[in-house]
Symmetry: C2
Subunit: 653 residues, 2 copies
């Protein structure tokens, strides 16, 4: 079961090899499309203007076309008399030329009559029948938009390789061009592979996962402008797999599979690519995540076998598939991905022999600059995909990113929407209620890292607010001891949040007859624990310490080392039989149809750095806490929750 990668190849080298083997990665065909279908295609020809624009001299104002010499010296006291001899309307040839002493009435955009070299605005004339009195002189050429002054016939207008957006469509239409030569977008077939996969919407049996890769790779390729067919999950049978890939290759420029690439899993894809007659050129990429990648070439066609972990597959899309697709479309390999500058808030290792793509979350600092927090979720995460704003690239030769180093962040979306309010800390369904009442749900990001994690995030400055429920055993008070612990005595306020009833969750009917904390020591009872640093964990550890008198809990309490991050995960573990009980909230018990053994009430507060108080979203959030709307909505929607007399008040300092 040892990993046998034939030879790890760097991303740069892989692209070079690919380019060499297919005889240059470039667009395959040129096709002519009507202008209406040209949007988002790439131009395959240099376009020169067939006509001038504007195609005739035209007026830029409403007024009278005249000979400028005729109005020389005109003023309020020495006006000039001219004779109106006709009219020039939009879309029609002027009724008359302009001779000496003559004028032609003209509308904005209408054609300048022969003989006229200027237009006097209607504000500066008085007309009576045919007689026109002009009170101002005009310079030659004044108020005339001259033929070809904008675009001259023969000018290069657009070049091969230009992506046709609405702006280019405007220029082409204006010059009368109704057909353009563009590159045919590459045809790509996508397969998912893996015995563990089930398509979304179907029931999930034990040890199975929903297919993520097929959907996300297909969506990413569409975003890249390719024509994609997603053929679903390949059957787990070598012959059907081979013939499906073979058939897809006939009708595609690129075939992409995900999964089944790791050496530990039988090298299926390696064999399939080989057996459809393709030449293997990469088997293992110096990329993190994304090492187990297979690349093969057949003629000018390319086969990519991407790793199964969603984040790995996505990162390989960015570092190797996207450049190839863009080049096949006729674009630069690095086109399309928008970028911003940001600073790294804390030193961390990266690269070290691999090209590493690291998802980051962006936090806007008060001076408008951005900090990029690396998401260390691992390549198996899907939440990390949703929570990150983009990624940074660590080249192979890099060892670490330094604190405060400036980096370029490749954004996942063209428009960066940084949340207005970052709430980082303890997980609580009550936060949702506050956000709803305050009207802040859309612009907020809630990240669950536990109460302690929240305090650290407040100290670092990336949390606008942190939810916290840490009990001080000495004073039996919640949270107010923490500023001193964190060295933040002069820097933070703590606002009272609300109270919530905590207790032990058990299956409906309480089959193990659990009554309190002492039952957690029973050998026939297995618990699900919360993560270290969460307020609930601190409470449990305190209670267990009182019961155990010096013995280590992991030696006595079954499941003590089984940690989960959120209240709902505790409920799910009990529901699915992985544990018999766990400490959580009454509201969660009700939500999941579990029984609840109350052990007390805890206080949930919000900590905020003083400097963050001038953010309108922070103020809105804190104001909502003391509103009667919030009080009503909290008890209505969350059983076991209530506001306190001092909810929304400062309890520290």
């Amino acid at each position: 079961m040892a990993l046998v990668f034939h030879k790890l190849v760097s991303v740069v080298e892989a692209l070079r090899l690919l380019n060499e083997k297919v005889g240059g990665i470039r667009p395959l065909d040129v096709m002519e499309v009507p202008l209406e279908e040209a949007l988002n295609k790439v131009l395959a020809e240099d376009v020169r203007a067939p006509i001038d624009y504007p195609p005739f001299d035209r007026s830029t104002v409403d007024g009278y076309a005249i000979r400028s010499l005729d109005a020389a010296g005109a003023s309020d006291v020495t006006p000039v008399q001219l004779k109106v001899v006709g009219k020039a309307s939009i879309g029609l040839p002027p009724e008359s030329a302009v001779g000496p002493g003559e004028a032609v009435e003209i509308a904005t955009g209408a054609m300048i009559p022969r003989g006229a070299d200027a237009v006097v605005m209607e504000e500066y004339v008085v007309r009576s029948g045919d007689a026109l009195t002009v009170y101002r002189p005009v310079a030659p050429g004044e108020n005339i938009n001259q033929t070809g002054s904008d675009v001259s016939a023969g000018d290069y207008i657009l070049r091969t390789g230009t992506l046709l957006t609405s702006r280019e469509i405007a220029v082409l239409a204006g010059l009368g061009i109704d057909k353009v030569k563009v590159y045919r977008p590459p045809k790509i077939t996508v397969f998912s592979t893996g015995v563990e996969l089930v398509p979304p919407g179907k029931p999930l049996s034990i040890a199975k996962l929903y297919d993520v890769d097929g959907y996300v790779i297909t969506a990413m390729l569409r975003e890249l402008g390719a024509e994609v067919t997603f053929k679903g999950i390949l059957p787990d049978d070598y012959n059907s797999m081979r013939s499906a890939v073979h058939e897809a290759l006939e009708s595609s420029d690129i075939v992409i599979t995900t999964g089944s690439t790791s050496a530990g899993y039988g090298d299926m894809i390696y064999k399939v690519f080989n057996d459809v007659g393709a030449e293997l050129i990469v088997h293992g990429l110096k990329a993190r995540p994304g090492k187990p990648t297979v690349i093969a070439v057949k003629g000018r066609k390319i086969l990519f076998g991407l790793p199964g972990f969603p984040l790995s597959a996505m990162m390989n899309m960015y570092n190797i598939v996207a450049p190839v697709v863009l080049m096949m479309r006729g674009l630069e390999p690095s086109a399309e991905l928008p970028r911003v500058k940001a600073r790294i808030p804390l030193k961390f290792q990266a690269g070290r022999g691999f090209m590493e793509l690291i998802p980051v979350q962006l936090v806007q600092n008060s001076d408008g600059s951005l900090s990029a927090y690396p998401l260390m979720t691992g390549s198996g995460s899907i939440a990390g995909i949703g929570l990150s704003d983009g990624f940074i690239v660590a080249e192979e030769g890099r060892e670490y990113f330094d604190e405060n180093e400036e980096v370029t962040v490749n954004l996942f979306s063209p428009s960066l929407r940084i949340p207005d309010l970052n709430i980082i800390g303890s997980n609580c369904p009550g936060i949702e209620v506050v956000l709803r009442v305050a009207g802040l749900t859309k612009q907020s990001r809630v990240i669950s890292v536990g109460s302690m994690g929240g305090w650290i995030a407040v100290k670092r400055g990336d949390a606008d607010l942190a939810g916290t429920h840490l009990l001080d055993e000495g004073t039996m008070q919640y949270n107010v001891h923490m500023p001193k612990v964190m060295g933040l005595e002069n820097d933070v306020y703590i606002y009272r949040g609300y109270a919530r009833r905590v207790g032990l969750l058990v299956k409906k009917g309480n089959p193990k007859n659990i009554r309190g904390f002492e039952d957690l020591l029973r050998p026939d009872v297995t618990i699900v624990n919360r993560n270290k640093g969460s307020g609930t964990r601190v409470l449990l550890d305190m209670k267990l310490r009182q019961l155990l008198k010096g013995e280590r809990p992991e030696k006595v309490v079954n499941g003590y080392t089984y940690e989960v991050k959120t209240h709902t995960a505790v409920a799910t573990a009990i529901l699915q039989g992985r544990a018999d009980t766990g400490l959580s909230l009454e509201a969660v018990a009700v939500q999941f149809g579990l029984d609840f053994i109350p052990v007390g009430e805890e206080v949930y507060d919000f900590v905020v750095r003083k400097v963050k108080l001038n953010k309108p979203s922070v103020r809105k959030f804190l104001e909502a806490l003391s509103s009667s709307d919030f009080s009503k909505e909290l008890s209505r929607s969350l059983p076991g929750y209530r506001t306190l007399p001092d909810s929304g008040k400062v309890v520290y300092p």
Copy 2:
């Protein structure tokens, strides 16, 4: 013909009125779509995780699932012996649970067997048959990716109003969600109006223009995610116009017309909207460009009558139509348009009672910061649309933008591709040849502002290179007198470019029998002149001064005030009979099939600021000038052109 706008309404007020009259601009319908069709739609429901992710505890490494207590204290000298009792493969339930002293072989991603609380990596064990020797301890939970640690069942995952990109698709797929509720994209019908319009591809008769608006508005709406039908140019007949709009309104959420909105042009659209039963709420917008705009409402449906000038129509799309379309899709009104910060290089007036949208070109400074040069092309320009990178907004209350002021630029495209090489100055087809030989065509932007304009751009720092051919009458030398004139003696180099033959262009067969400059004084000859500041104009003025001896040329030379910006525009004017002759290039005469009367040869050079010489693209350009490839390609492709012995050499200082 006076402009009668009923009452100018500000953009903010127009949006407020619209919102009030339609009872809130918001999405109309919710529809359920399969995940495969959800890309780029907007979520119409809050999505909570139906399952945990991962849905089971899984291994993050290849190795053996064990009980961590069993390996406590294991080391190279004190290894621990365990018994392998089975295997856990991806996608399958583990073959066996793990009891004390037991181990189960496990693959990355496979399900952790019951009883095990850690995985020891295969690097730290030696296996022989069933016997497993473990050389390292593992902590509880080590190498395990726990159920729900990434996403917990019940967690809010995505909210109403989220734009579904590939990342959100990944999260939804992973949680097994195969259908989502999204907002139906608005249906929009677009018409062009105007007697002057001809569809692209058809011949253009006198005083007519190609329809730009229909195509660009349709493309912009597609970019905004709407479902658009473009119905072409409306017939110029009131009844057909009314019934076409009436019919479109039946099947659309929004109807957009362009053109025919200015008061000077009969108020057609105003009447049409009124007669289909809609309530007129805006007739004239405090926006520049874009004042002649009509907005009407019928029930929840909206009718926009946009002005006819392309830039005006486009700017109104950004300031009033786009927010409405985005809100109807369920997004924030300001979503989607990417933005960058830049500085204004020179003070200019803007706003003054109107909301003004000003197209800008971005130039990257050597420190990486951006300067935003306003494009003062006027709303009739189509080249300006193609050349600008985005726009800045001057609010109604603003009077000017100050030099060095920081502004936010709304980008037309998500990815900003600032040209690597800005060549601003005299217009010459030879520049194209240099770019081709140097391989720089794609990353360059060539802006024609004449030789003098080029010197100014070099002085301001926005031109990397400027083409110049200015003759000093005193020394009869080209260009080398200019650094002193511009106060740039210590700051620039001038590189010798090439020579090009200039002369008078006349119609094939020279019908007016023009022999030289003296013929330009003949009363039966009309010339087309070049713009002030161009080297060609300077040459002509010099020759005319010698002939005219103090008389003003505009009094004597017909067409002297008829100025065009480029050589090709001179040729077109002669070809179309608007002028008999003009000073230009032999190459252009050949290109347009005109006859050529040579009057001499001029030298075309390139000026560059010393600080720009470290730009690789600048160096590439200048190196190409002395290459033999360039010399050959120049004479081959441009008649009358030749390189000089010192081409590519520094001629100043």
